[in-house]
Amino acid sequence: MYDVAVIGAGVTGAMIARGLAKYDAKVCILEKANDVATGATRANSAIVHAGFDAKEGSLKAKLNVEGSKMMKKVTDELGVKYKNNGSLVIGFNDEDRKTIEELKKRGDANGVEGLRVIDAAELRELEPNISENATCALYAPTGAIVCPYDLTIAAVGNAMDNGVELKLNFKVTGIEKDGSDYVIKSENEQIKAHYVINAAGLFADDIAKMVGDDSFSINPRRGEYILLDKECGGLVSHTIFRTPSKMGKGILVSPTVDGNLLTGPTSVDIADKEDNTTTSEGFAHIIKEASENLKAVPFGKTITSFCGLRATGSTGDFIINSPKAGFINAAGIESPGLSASPAIAEYVIGLLKEQGFNAAQKDSFNPVRRSAHYFKDASVEEKNEIIKKNPAFGRIVCRCEIVTEGEILEAIHTNPKATDLDGVKRRTRSGMGRCQSGFCSPYIVEILSRELGIPYECVTKSGGESYINVGKTKEAE
């Protein structure tokens, strides 16, 4: 019997769970996938928005600006890479300039600090590689970048270290009322909780329907990205947006906290919530618009492309409410959901208290988690101390991203524990470099097999049936 069950281990569920870990309550996170951060959190623009986009008075505007202000502290505590690189919305003509001025007004009203409209000369000083055709920009010094799955993994890990349970491969198939409690069922298991928080991302509408709330729907919107080699990460230092138009927000170009260059996203409404396929039209669109933003984007240095799905809610705003006693929706968390996530967590816990949640804060809560990157960030002397104690830190497994066996072992044995190749990759960056896991995956499969005590051929890419190998050699008839 749990006090609170959080459905969904994306960034929203993770931040809520971490918020709840401060209380003397029994909390669990239910996640349908084999790891945390595998839905909308896995693939997005990785941006902490300043907060000038959302309409004044909306929940999106309020929580974006609040969340953005909280992000630095949260990432410090969790040891997550965060960079306050500032953002620029660039304009190419008078119409864009008008829009940019409106955006500034809206941002000011939303409480975004330091917004300025800058001219071409200052823009070029900030970003020498910006397109010759750009004539002005909105400069938002509070814009930042963060790694969304790094944040989510760290938040879940910190929550777990403070007593929260994580149940993976728990796909909720039904929710029933039992007195004042909820019984949450999966195919093989059921748990009971006093309160339920629906942070199920793309599937939040399906979960809400299970308790009789059909007031909204979630519509997947495809967003494709192209990621370039670290060689290109220095091309721009700010996140470069285009001026939004009737056609949408357009393709952005941004450095990532890991030093790559990210371009995207496309924006296409689709029907299938699991269809994260990329398209050739999408690639063409990204390449065209990104190339308009800068003088040149070296797409020859592409290392990967991917597609994420936004959990777009039918109301146009975040859907955070309590449609039934003890049941709270944190749904429709599309952009700026990542930016808002620390504020969403507080807001949700506020609603929970209104619903009667009255657990006391516990003294033992430790908000700090050792950074997953502590080895990488250490000095040579410190690294040698670590290697002396554990020689596995002297063995490089992923040569492109320089990831040691020690870091991989920790990813497998630290909450939330990685159990598949993608899980190790998201925690350590192994396989994220130029060779895209060509060299290191056979070794990582071996380490996973050894550490998890499972046969080599049972290691998966991302759980389920995603086996890396399908059998042994010598078995042909």
Partner: protein, 140 residues
């Protein structure tokens, strides 16, 4: 299981299964596989006998052309499983008839080699006139 494609050039084919020869008068075009140069060879066949070879740049190409039209052979390179559960690289120490490749694989697949293994060790003998020898070492 995949089948050897003996009938690659259905219009003009000359090959042999077991003792039986298919006799044709024809010109066969081959790519020499003896060395990486990959010479394009032309072989004239009269009553099933090789009467002229052209396109080769060395003597070995000529031998290959002749053999390929009378008794095609291949060196098989594969692995044998060792007692530690990992494979070791092996080869047939001489070419085997092409149509026996999958039979070689069947024999090789059944074998489990004990360690240590050194380069050149015979792990299986008398496999269609060839020995299966290790091409790598382990556990020395």
């Amino acid at each position: 299981m995949a089948q050897l494609n003996a009938k690659r050039q259905p219009a003009k084919i000359y090959f042999r299964i077991g003792e039986r020869s298919y006799d044709y008068n024809m010109t066969r075009e081959l790519t020499c596989i003896v060395c990486p140069m990959g010479c394009s060879l032309k072989v004239e066949l009269t009553d099933g006998k090789v009467t002229a070879i052209s396109g080769n740049t060395c003597k070995r190409g000529e031998e290959y052309a002749e053999n390929e039209c009378t008794n095609p052979q291949r060196t098989v390179t594969t692995t044998i499983m060792c007692e530690d559960g990992a494979p070791i690289a092996v080869k047939t120490d001489r070419p085997v008839p092409k149509e026996k490749i999958f039979e070689v694989m069947k024999l090789v697949n059944k074998k489990v080699a004990s360690l240590p293994v050194s380069v050149g060790d015979v792990l299986l003998d008398d496999v269609f006139g060839s020995n299966i020898v290790a091409t790598a070492s382990r556990g020395e």
